[in-house]
């Protein structure tokens, strides 16, 4: 029924519209003029705007073996090469991220880290990156130690630089951020130090020296971070001083001594941090500190436990030391009740691990 109704409707419509069928066709002149105008417009369009079709057409021509216009062939070839280069490089860099020091892609990994560091502009991201990369070095060293291999100086030197850079960039953060960053760094490095001490025994005897150097290095950085927690600005000067000493890299003893002495200045803690001093000195100093503490004087005789570095007497570390009211001379080996918080003692003991 519906179909019949539709058919009737269509018939009716066709009849009514017949009147519009009979219209004159387009004149040949108008058609010719219109055609010429259309083709002229097509010819006047700039070819480069249709680069998508051209590139695609060129690519198709290239695939099908048909000749393409030279300019677009060259452009397509350059684009293709650049794309392949970018994709290929990206793949290599991605693959390199899991490489180890004795593998062929390891230099690519280091290079990509350098690039990322150069692109980091604010201190926070610089610090994060430096710490991340130092973590990677320490993981690499851990793995090498587990397999009894020598980490080599390339990795340890780089670790040293990354840790110094992390400390430096942490000191550039605003005060609260700097303290937090340094505390995190301190805890992180202490974990690695513990891990490495455990693994050190498994290491190849030939590699033992390098592991010892790494452990010493970690101790130094922990100590620096510890001082930075008290006065972040002191880190710049301590690092400069360390760099002077590190002209012979990883001569841990003198550097440690300087750092320990500096730590004592900053914290007011005496011989617990004297990593390179004999135990009896440390004991004496500790006793002295206790006795000073005991009489509440705070002006106890430092004796020979500490010969303060004169460069640091006016260093930024001074405010932390002078914050103890009992101590008139912050360079003296004293342990004052207020100026020797638990954190300082913990740090000092850290060197004894």
């Amino acid at each position: 029924m519906n179909k019949v109704s539709n058919d009737h409707s269509e018939e009716w419509m066709q009849k009514r519209l017949l009147v519009l069928h009979d219209v004159p066709g387009r004149s040949p002149d108008a058609e010719k003029t219109g055609r010429a105008r259309f083709l002229g417009e097509a010819a006047s369009l700039p070819a480069h705007s249709s680069y998508r079709q051209n590139l695609w057409g060129t690519f198709k021509s290239f695939v099908s073996g048909r000749p393409a216009r030279l300019a677009f062939s060259a452009a397509a070839a350059v684009c293709l090469m650049l794309a392949l280069l970018l994709v290929g490089s990206g793949t290599v860099v991605y693959a390199a991220q899991g490489s180890q020091p004795n593998q062929i892609l390891y230099p690519v990994k280091l290079l990509s880290e350098d690039v990322r560091l150069r692109l980091a502009v604010n201190p926070q991201s610089q610090f994060q990156l430096n710490l991340t990369f130092a973590d990677r070095r320490l993981d690499e060293i851990d793995k090498l130690a587990q397999s009894g291999q020598d980490p080599g100086t390339q990795v340890t030197d780089r670790l040293q630089n990354e840790l110094n850079a992390a400390l430096d960039s942490a000191a550039n953060l605003e005060s609260e951020g700097a303290v937090k960053a340094l505390e995190n760094m301190q805890a992180n490095l202490q974990q690695h130090e513990d891990q490495l001490l455990k693994l050190q025994s498994q290491a190849n005897p030939h590699a033992a020296a390098n592991y010892t150097r790494v452990v010493e290095m970690l101790k130094e950085k922990v100590s620096l971070a510890e001082q930075g927690v008290k006065d972040p600005q002191s880190i710049h000067q301590l690092l400069q001083q360390q760099q002077k000493q590190d002209k012979k890299p990883f001569e841990a003893t003198p550097t440690s001594t300087i750092l320990v002495n500096n730590a004592q200045e900053a914290t007011g803690i005496s011989a617990t941090a004297a990593a390179t001093e004999p135990e009896n000195n440390a004991a004496q100093c500790s006793d002295q500190g206790k006795s000073n503490n005991g009489n509440g004087n705070g002006n106890g005789n430092a004796g020979r436990c500490d010969e303060p570095d004169t460069q640091l007497t006016s260093s930024p570390a001074q405010p932390a030391a002078t914050s103890a009211p009992q101590s008139n001379n912050p360079n003296k080996l004293v342990k004052t009740p207020k100026a020797a918080p638990d954190k300082g003692n913990k740090g000092g003991n850290g060197h004894k691990k």
Partner: protein, 186 residues
């Protein structure tokens, strides 16, 4: 002129790279049909010429920007033409429900037929103008151009059922409008 889908696709592929031969072939295939289509709906040869020129120009610029149809070239061209006609209605004609007899002489001076035919053509054009754009397009393509439902569906990017419904409503509206005109004339 109708061409099969493989011919159409080949022509379109060449036209995308602005190949002059392909563009000329497309123009030759469709310009007359589009002219008649627009003349039937607009009633003025000058406007129909303008419509043809604008349709092919828009098609050309779409190709140049990397757009344009992948298939259904004919449907694409008629869609452009129809959009132009709809815009033209807005700017050239008053959408009045009353049929002004003077409109026939003023708007369509070049139709050579007798007066009755001219009046009937004017009446139909006026009635078609009062339909919605899609209803008018369906009626024009189905009954003036003789397209199948499938082709109209491709031109309007709508399913077949929707085209049937549009046609049904359009015919009902036209019946009503034309019946009212006839009653008024009596």
């Amino acid at each position: 002129m109708r061409m099969d889908s493989s011919q159409e696709k080949e022509l379109l592929d060449s036209a995308k790279s602005l190949d002059s031969r392909a563009l000329a072939a497309i123009y030759d295939s469709f310009n007359r049909g589009i002219y008649l289509y627009s003349l039937r709906l607009l009633g003025e040869p000058d406007l129909a010429e303008e419509c043809v020129a604008e349709t092919f120009s828009r098609f050309l610029h779409a190709l140049h920007k990397g757009r344009g149809p992948k298939k259904y070239l004919q449907a694409y061209l008629y869609r452009i033409a129809h959009n132009w006609i709809t815009d033209s209605y807005r700017s050239h004609f008053r959408l009045s429900t009353e049929l002004d007899e003077n409109l026939a002489d003023e708007a369509r001076p070049s139709l050579p037929q007798g007066l009755d035919t001219k009046l009937e053509q004017a009446r139909m054009c006026a009635a078609l103008r009062q339909l919605s754009g899609e209803q008018r397009q369906v009626i024009a393509l189905r009954f003036l151009e003789g397209w199948e439902y499938e082709d109209v569906a491709a031109a309007l990017n709508k399913p077949l059922g929707a085209i049937r419904a549009l046609q049904h409503r359009a015919i009902a509206n036209l019946r009503k409008m034309l019946a009212e005109d006839e009653i008024e004339e009596e």
